[in-house]
Structure formats: structure tokens, C-alpha cells
């Protein structure tokens, strides 16, 4: 039985709640990256399901530690994946989210991108939009977006794995050369109900600490972001919807009145 230790603390989990991704730079062993570097493009059930891939990637302590932190105990390990391989120059993909994007507070799936090669800017890196992971959009209606302020190209070293909330906006960036640009995509899923069982110092659940807004968000979107982050955090800590509503706010906490007038002596 594989025993996986969580690696994230409250602060790191709150960062994930806001941004929708974690990048683990160069964590997979070089020799294994080389073994994956010539993998066939397309469905990668055999590769991802192989004992070596499970050991070197899927249950790598740092990668699985993030998964354990965010998806709880006894999470489901991927049994397949897809190898996205680009060789020729091309203009890049359109912005999209995979499947049907969701706006809920839950976190039940982590979609991961593993890069067995170095990826430079000219190689057509995956580009992600931090904080876009809970936007209820038609994926085909964001295809005309070009550059977005705050977009992050995953220019990474070989052996890097990015773990994302399914639904984050992403695309393969423009590719200017003939270098192999390889990315193996796979997903972990939650089984256990959420509880705050990552690395904690105290059993007392801290309130969500506001993160800075994203540059691309309009006023109302930043309020929505904050509210969603608070409820996602509470959901991950195991609160019911009703309990979470006690913390419901979309403005900074210092703007919320907390003193009953009858307690004030003038």
C-alpha cells in the first residue's frame, strides 16, 4: 500500500485556491525524462499506466504530496493519459478550458502536465491563465482572445510537473522552431470527502487570507473571485455550505462591520 505524505500547508493551499495551479520545477529524474522523451504522441495509457511511470512520476513524493494535500486520502491515481507532441512551427492553440468548465467551489480533479524536455519560450510552451479555473464559460467563446495580462507561459526545465484545477484556461503557445515540445497530460481524482488534512499547525481552521486580485479582472470579477476563493477554502476544510455561508463576503474583511452598535459606549 502506497502511503503518501501531504506536502502543502494552509498558505500553499490558499495559493492554489486563488491561482488554480502549482508548478513543481524539475522534480522528475533526468534518466526517466530521457526515457519518456521519445514517447509516441496520442493516447498514453501504456506509458502512464506502467509501473515505472507510476513510481517515477505519479507517486513521486513531491507530486503525489501535492495531490494528497488537495484531493485527500486514497485519491485515484491516473491509469492513462495523453501525450501532446508538437514538432513543427505553428501559431499555437486557441485559449480553451478542457471539457466543461465549472464554477463550483469543489476540487475533485487535478489535471497535470508533465514535461520530459526543457521548454523555452520559442518552443510553444503551455500558457495558463492564473485564477481562470472557476469561470463558467463556453470554451469555444474564448478562442479569439489573444494575449491576456497575467498569462503565464510554462517555460520550464525537463522533469517539471504542473498540477492544475481542471477547468483552468490554457493553450499551447506559438512555436517558432522544430524542437520537440512534449507534454504528457493525466488526471488524479478525489475519493475522500474534503477535510483539512494537509500539513497543519493547529486544529483551528484559519480564515481564508485574501490574495491580491488578478490584473485582468474587472471590478465585479475581483469581488466574485474573492467570494469563490473563500468558499473553496471552506469547502476544502470540510465545512458544509451552510457553515461556509457564515464567512460569506466579497469585500475585504476590514470593510465588514463587526461591532454591534449597542456595544459602543460614546
Amino acid at each position: 500500500m502506497a502511503y503518501i505524505k501531504p506536502t502543502m500547508d494552509d498558505d500553499a493551499v490558499m495559493d492554489f485556491v486563488a491561482n488554480g495551479y502549482v508548478v513543481l520545477e524539475g522534480v522528475v529524474d533526468e534518466a526517466f525524462n530521457r526515457r519518456c522523451s521519445d514517447a509516441k504522441p496520442g493516447p498514453a495509457k501504456e506509458l502512464v499506466g506502467s509501473p515505472d511511470f507510476i513510481r517515477e512520476v505519479l507517486l513521486h513524493p513531491q507530486i503525489a504530496g501535492v495531490v494528497r494535500s488537495l484531493l485527500g486520502k486514497n485519491f485515484l491515481v491516473p491509469t492513462g493519459g495523453h501525450h501532446h507532441l508538437f514538432k513543427e512551427p505553428f501559431t499555437g492553440q486557441d485559449w480553451h478550458s478542457d471539457g466543461i468548465s465549472g464554477s463550483g467551489f469543489e476540487l475533485t480533479e487535478l489535471q497535470c502536465y508533465y514535461y520530459p524536455h526543457d521548454v523555452n519560450l520559442e518552443d510553444g510552451p503551455t500558457i495558463i491563465l492564473p485564477g481562470s479555473h472557476c469561470r463558467a464559460v463556453n470554451r469555444d467563446a474564448i478562442a479569439h482572445y489573444g494575449n491576456i495580462v497575467g498569462q503565464v507561459p510554462l517555460v520550464v526545465k525537463a522533469g517539471t510537473v504542473a498540477l492544475t484545477r481542471y477547468g483552468i484556461w490554457h493553450k499551447a503557445g506559438p512555436k517558432l522552431n522544430y524542437n520537440r515540445r512534449s507534454m504528457i497530460k493525466f488526471s488524479y481524482h478525489r475519493q475522500s470527502p474534503p477535510q483539512r488534512d494537509w500539513l497543519i499547525d493547529s486544529e483551528d481552521i484559519p480564515e481564508y487570507v485574501d490574495r491580491p486580485g488578478f490584473h485582468y479582472t474587472s471590478g465585479v470579477e475581483s469581488y466574485r473571485d474573492l467570494r469563490r476563493q473563500i468558499h473553496t477554502w471552506n469547502w476544502l476544510c470540510g465545512m458544509s455550505d451552510k457553515e461556509s455561508m457564515a464567512f460569506d463576503r466579497w469585500r475585504p474583511s476590514y470593510e465588514t462591520g463587526t461591532r454591534p452598535v449597542e456595544e459602543i459606549v460614546v
Binding site: T91, V149, Q151, P174, S218, R227
Partner: protein, 119 residues
């Protein structure tokens, strides 16, 4: 276009009195007869105000081949009004009724202005 072609004919008649027309003259005529093509610029702003900041942009240029170019972090214009000052014409303003207000759910990025130029 018509005025330019008329001018070309007038100048060519004058030229023909002393010199025959050549390939360059015909190239010039061909250029003058080309129909202008539309360039489209999407600028996404943080509000419907034309002075609010641009957070996303995309140029669709029908006069050039679609080649890969590196991504950019710098918007071509700080706001929509700057683009208008640079000769872009607003083809479509954000249509407020299309921005269904869903109260608490996040959705698309910003407010979209569609601009055009003719080349």
C-alpha cells in the same frame, strides 16, 4: 480608389507623350486598384469606459499570412481611446445586454471593444 486611378490615368497620358509606360507603372496601377482589406483588433477593457485599462488584445490581420509570433505582455494600447487616437475605428462597443449578470459566478474576461482599420 477611383480618384487615385483617375490621377494615374491623367499622369500616364502626360507621360506617354514622351515615354512609354513600363512595368512599374502597371504595378502602381495594380496597387491603386486593390480593394482595401479590413484589420480587426479586439481590445478587452476592464469596463465599458473607453479610458479603462486594456487587459487582453488580439489582432486579426487579413493582409498578412498567419505566422507564429511570440506572446507578449505589453498591450499595444493602454486603453481604447489611445487606439482610436492612432487611427483605429470602433466597429463594435461592448453590448451591455450580452453581459448577462450572473451575480456571483465568474465568466468571461473584461468588456470587448472591436476596432477596425483598412489597409
Amino acid at each position: 480608389m477611383k480618384t487615385d486611378v483617375k490621377r494615374w490615368i491623367k499622369e500616364s497620358r502626360t507621360k506617354l507623350k514622351t515615354t512609354p509606360l513600363d512595368a512599374a507603372d502597371l504595378d502602381q496601377l495594380e496597387t491603386l486598384m486593390k480593394e482595401p482589406r479590413q484589420l480587426i483588433l479586439y481590445l478587452t477593457a476592464t469596463s465599458t469606459n473607453m479610458r479603462s485599462g486594456v487587459v487582453s488584445w488580439a489582432l486579426y490581420d487579413s493582409t498578412k499570412a498567419h505566422e507564429p509570433t511570440l506572446l507578449s505582455d505589453e498591450s499595444p494600447y493602454n486603453n481604447v481611446l489611445d487606439a482610436v487616437a492612432d487611427g483605429w475605428r470602433v466597429a463594435q462597443f461592448p453590448v451591455i445586454n450580452l453581459y448577462e449578470y450572473k451575480d456571483l459566478e465568474n465568466d468571461y474576461v473584461g468588456f470587448e471593444f472591436i476596432l477596425e482599420k483598412w489597409r
